[in-house]
């Protein structure tokens, strides 16, 4: 299983659904709720998200070296090879 890193917002429904999808399927993932970050850490993280997704929308999900924007279940499954 490729490593998963998700950039999310703590208030966003699509982000919550994505976290639930990984959880329900027993798929390990890391996430950062960008709205909860402050100062330099927030600025640096936003810059990083922009490099993957210029729209800086959430969730932005890195699956291995693939980027999936939004809770697109089929794309996520495809990237995971499941």
């Amino acid at each position: 299983m490729p490593p998963i890193k998700m950039y999310s917002l703590s208030t966003c429904g699509h982000c919550k659904h994505t976290k639930k999808f990984f959880g329900d399927n027993g798929i390990p993932f890391e996430f950062v709720d960008v709205d909860l970050l402050q100062g330099q850490e927030r600025t640096d993280t936003i810059e990083k998200v922009r490099t993957y997704n210029p729209n800086c929308s959430f969730p932005t999900i890195l699956i291995g070296n693939q980027v999936v924007v939004g809770f697109r279940e089929n794309e996520i499954k495809e990237a995971l090879g499941i």
């Binding site: 917002l9 703590s10 208030t11 966003c12 429904g13 699509h14 982000c15 919550k16 960008v34 709205d35 927030r42 600025t43 936003i46 210029p54 729209n55 800086c56 929308s57 959430f58 939004g70 697109r72």
Partner: protein
């Protein structure tokens, strides 16, 4: 104000305009809590699905209901967040179309 009061307040104004709350009430109350969180954090109800800059003027277009809701509901049947939907959207079992971010990237000013 709690999310139930906000629900009633918004419903009265938005339903007559044809904007219904999503039939998934768990999602709706999560998003309403998100709006109240943002109101507390920033002083305005920024879209819970978008990152606020903290500057009301710059975020004007993403204060809920956002500037993009009308076009998104017309085209996809729901707003970007899926908080507000059309009657047809709620009547459909789905799958519902994915709503891409319509806000132009140059509007992001973090």
């Amino acid at each position: 104000m709690n999310e139930k009061e906000l629900y009633e307040q918004l419903r009265k104004v938005q339903e007559p305009k044809g904007y219904l709350f999503n039939k998934d009430s768990d999602l709706v109350f999560d998003l309403l809590r998100g709006l109240l969180t943002n109101k507390e954090r920033y002083g305005y109800m920024n879209c819970p699905c978008r990152l606020a800059s903290g500057d009301r003027t710059k975020d004007q277009d993403i204060i809920c209901p956002c500037t993009y809701r009308k076009q998104d509901v017309e085209e996809y049947g729901s707003c970007y967040c899926s908080l507000y939907v059309s009657q047809d959207w709620n009547a459909s079992e789905g799958p519902h179309p994915f709503v891409p971010e319509r806000r132009p990237p140059e509007k992001f000013s973090f």
